[in-house]
């Protein structure tokens, strides 16, 4: 028995991989190619990031590309050009080229959910009007690893800007399987000449010539990208889905100029019902906010002014949600807000019939939007700076 144990111990390094044998992949890009798909990997150069002294000579990340008929084939082909084994457990981002997204991503995603090494805590975004490879090749400032930069930026902008949204692999897969609620993905795009992206010395300037920027939310239909929501529609969509904080809202003042309100708390409910055989949906949104900027001449100390502002905002949000709903019904034909699921929850029996031709039923569905806005606080001053002095 002892010799058996010794044998096991002595020969046992099957799964061992030393840290310096790993190519830690921070981001994956998937593009369409003639043979199937093109995989680009953003690999972290740990020596460059961890070493405090000699840093700055090499780029913090390196990008590799390979093509293959399947995801795994491309991944394995990558080994022909890298000295290390690709390690996927620390993926921060998966970027899908728009072309690829439009033609269907289900096949590529299967490997990501099946392969034991990959976790599910990264975000999936679409390279809007770009190839994923270009996005991955772009270096970022402030944050050395572009994938981290994208990841955190999405985290923050999702809350503060509202026109973007995080999507994880599980969300996507649920969306593909669930006809009553399609998935969405944020779009990422590149400002500037893509060829400048990989250059290190562009950081000599305080204003990098190429930057990555999130733009809009892409709606999926099944595993295909159906189209993009505009900024307003994206915001509407996110309002309908709830869970926003710190988002700013701009409202026009009655006498010209704008006021800005920051969201403090919000709560939204998507409901569905079936009345007389035809489905109907409703979105109820309750918002609490705080006045953060007044660039017009109003008297914020008056209850009336505030309630007018509130009404303005309610209209604004209502408008945005309606826009999102209309777009998803008419143009995208994809139930991104999840009315189908809402009906499923409310009336499972009716849903069983409805499910079969939900895309048609969804297009004709009526949606009510109710918004209730409350401004609780007006900030640290009570008079706008732009107030005209009375003479």
């Amino acid at each position: 028995m002892f010799s058996a144990v010794a044998l096991v111990l002595l020969t046992g390094c099957w799964n061992r991989r030393e840290l310096n044998e790993l190519a830690i992949a921070a981001a994956l890009g998937i593009d369409k190619s003639e043979s199937g798909l093109k995989l680009s990997v953003q690999v972290i150069n740990p020596g460059e990031i961890a070493d405090r002294k000699g840093a700055g000579k090499q780029p913090p990340v390196v990008t590799f590309e390979a093509e293959g008929r399947t995801f795994m084939e491309a991944l394995h082909r990558l080994t022909t050009e890298m000295p290390r084994r690709i390690y996927l457990a620390h993926l921060r981002m998966v970027i899908i080229g728009e072309e690829m997204a439009r033609s269907g991503i289900g096949k590529a995603l299967d490997a990501l959910s099946r392969y034991y090494e990959v976790r599910t805590d990264y975000y999936v975004v679409v390279a809007r009007g770009q190839t994923a490879a270009h996005i991955l090749e772009t270096l970022t400032s402030l944050e050395k690893i572009p994938a981290n930069s994208m990841n955190t930026s999405l985290d923050i902008s999702e809350k503060a800007w509202a026109a973007t949204g995080k999507t994880t692999l599980n969300d996507l897969i649920s969306g593909i399987h669930n006809i009553g609620r399609s998935a969405v993905m944020s779009g990422i795009t590149l400002d500037g000449n893509p060829a400048d992206g990989p250059e290190m010395n562009r950081f000599q300037s305080t204003k990098p010539p190429v930057i990555l920027r999130y733009s809009g939310i892409g709606a999926m239909k099944g595993d295909k990208l159906a189209g993009w929501l505009s900024e307003t529609e994206s915001k509407g969509f996110r309002f309908a889905k709830g869970n926003l904080t710190n988002t700013g809202l701009v409202v026009p003042c009655p006498a010209g100029g704008y006021a800005d309100v920051e969201l403090v708390r919000m709560n939204s409910k998507v409901k569905g019902k079936v009345a007389g055989g035809s489905p109907a949906g409703s979105v109820t949104i309750r918002v609490e906010g705080m006045l953060t900027e007044v660039s017009c001449d109003i008297d914020v100390m008056k209850r009336k002014t505030i309630s007018r502002l509130e009404r303005e905002i309610e209209d604004e949000i209502e408008e945005a949600v309606h826009a999102a709903v209309r777009r998803s019904q008419d143009d995208l034909r994809s139930d991104v807000i999840g009315f189908g699921e809402a009906i499923h929850r409310a009336n499972p029996k009716a849903w069983r019939n409805l499910k079969r031709n939900w895309p048609q039923a969804f297009r004709k569905m009526k949606v009510d939007v109710n918004v209730d806005m409350k401004i609780r606080r007006i900030g640290t001053v009570n008079e706008p700076a732009a107030k005209k002095t009375e003479e």
């Binding site: 799964n15 061992r16 840290l19 310096n20 740990p46 990031i49 620390h90 921060r92």
Partner: protein, 527 residues
Amino acid sequence: MKNGMKNGILKSLLRLLQNRNKAEAPPPVPAASPRGISSKLAANLQRFRAEFGNSSDLVTREMRFGGAEGPRIALVYLDGLTDMKALMQSLAGEAAPGVRERKSARQWLDHLKQTAIAAGEIKEAGVWGDVVLAVLSGETAMFVDGCADVLTIGTQGGDRRNVEEPNTQSVIRGPREGFTETLRTNTAMVRRKIRDVRVRTEAMRIGRVTQTDVAIMYVQGLAADNILAEVHARLNRIDTDGILESGYIEEFIQDGKYSPFPTVFSTERPDTIAAGLLEGRVAVFVDGTPFVLLVPALFTQFYQAPEDYYQRADFSTLLRLLRFVCFMIALLAPSVYIAVTTFHQELLPTPLLIGLAGQREGVPFPAFIEAVMMEIMFEILREGGVRMPKTIGQSVSIVGTLVIGQAAVEAGLVSPAMVIVVAITAISNFVIPAFNMAISLRMLRFLFMAVAASFGLFGVVICLIGLVLHLCSLKSFGVPYLAPFAPLQLNDQKDSLFRLPAWMLRTRPRSLQDRNVYRQPPKGKAP
């Protein structure tokens, strides 16, 4: 079965050894000599000198007691083992007038025994072997010419270490005295703490050649009978030529002979022994060492410091929890580090992974070899430092820090993270109060590292289950080793991992005995 066999082998080995000894030197007590004692003084002294081979430290002093009419007497003692001052004083000078009338040697002997000699302990011996043994133990044999009985006088003395602060198990608050090498001093120190007639001390001699004094101490009524019987039985079973330290006894009487874990507790501190006795444990004193054994010894005991009871309860509890954490670190840190960095990199937060990977760039060895190398290097340093005089020991550690901490990292032989892991492991190991428990962790750590290197965390968990199994199978003198936890004794939890305030510790550990459990009057009853 196994024990019996082992003892058998030991015995035959011993016999072999003894046979060899016989060829070189005569055995201490020749079996052929008669048991009785001659009434002739000269013959006795002659015999003594012959048996001791004219040893230079054997003093045979002949004198006449009580002036010219008094009997001829002789003192036999070993120089250096004895303190003869008081005895000599009481023997010197003329005997009182009434005394001189005595005629027979026997009467003189009685007089000497009852009146003349100023010494605490005087015994009469009629068997030759006893006398020799008494002399060997530092007593003085007094022969009176014409009498076949001998007085043995307790003159043990000579140069001995004073009571000092113990080097091991030092405390910030608490008594500073530590045991010495003298058995009697040691038992006295405990007696001084527990003034109760129920404190029993039983003496025995173990070691055919060394004839070492061993004393068992317990509190009658608190120590469980079965434990006491077991201690007696195991001590009686020891048959060896020499006991030079309590460590010998420990190895003979411990349970789980192949276990790396100690099942006998040893301490230099009288307060720890006193506390143990009050809990119903049994102490074993061995002459010639300041380390006193305490049984049964349970796992938790090795993680408790005497100071726990002298500091505030909340603080002590936190310290105990800290020690438990240190136990985990000391046992697991290198193996978990190996497992995580070579098998489960997905478990590390990304920034940490990048940092570690950056540090490892250019390190030539796999993490396992790196860890083993560093651990061994550390063990060498520690061992090197321990045996050195304090001043040199320090320079060893300085060289060590420089070699490991700086040069090795800068030469790219090891990664800085590994140095941190090894260092925290080593320091955690020092936190464990009992040295013998700390050693067992040091050994087990390597096993864990080896398994982690081929099976990752799965191997570590499996090893941990195995370790718990092993610990659960251990017993110390019939008491399960993990006693207050498995089998669970809710009542004993008050003083195991936690230490509740003294006024809440109403009971003695029930795991040890359940007859006299109350230390304080039970709740609701007036004292």
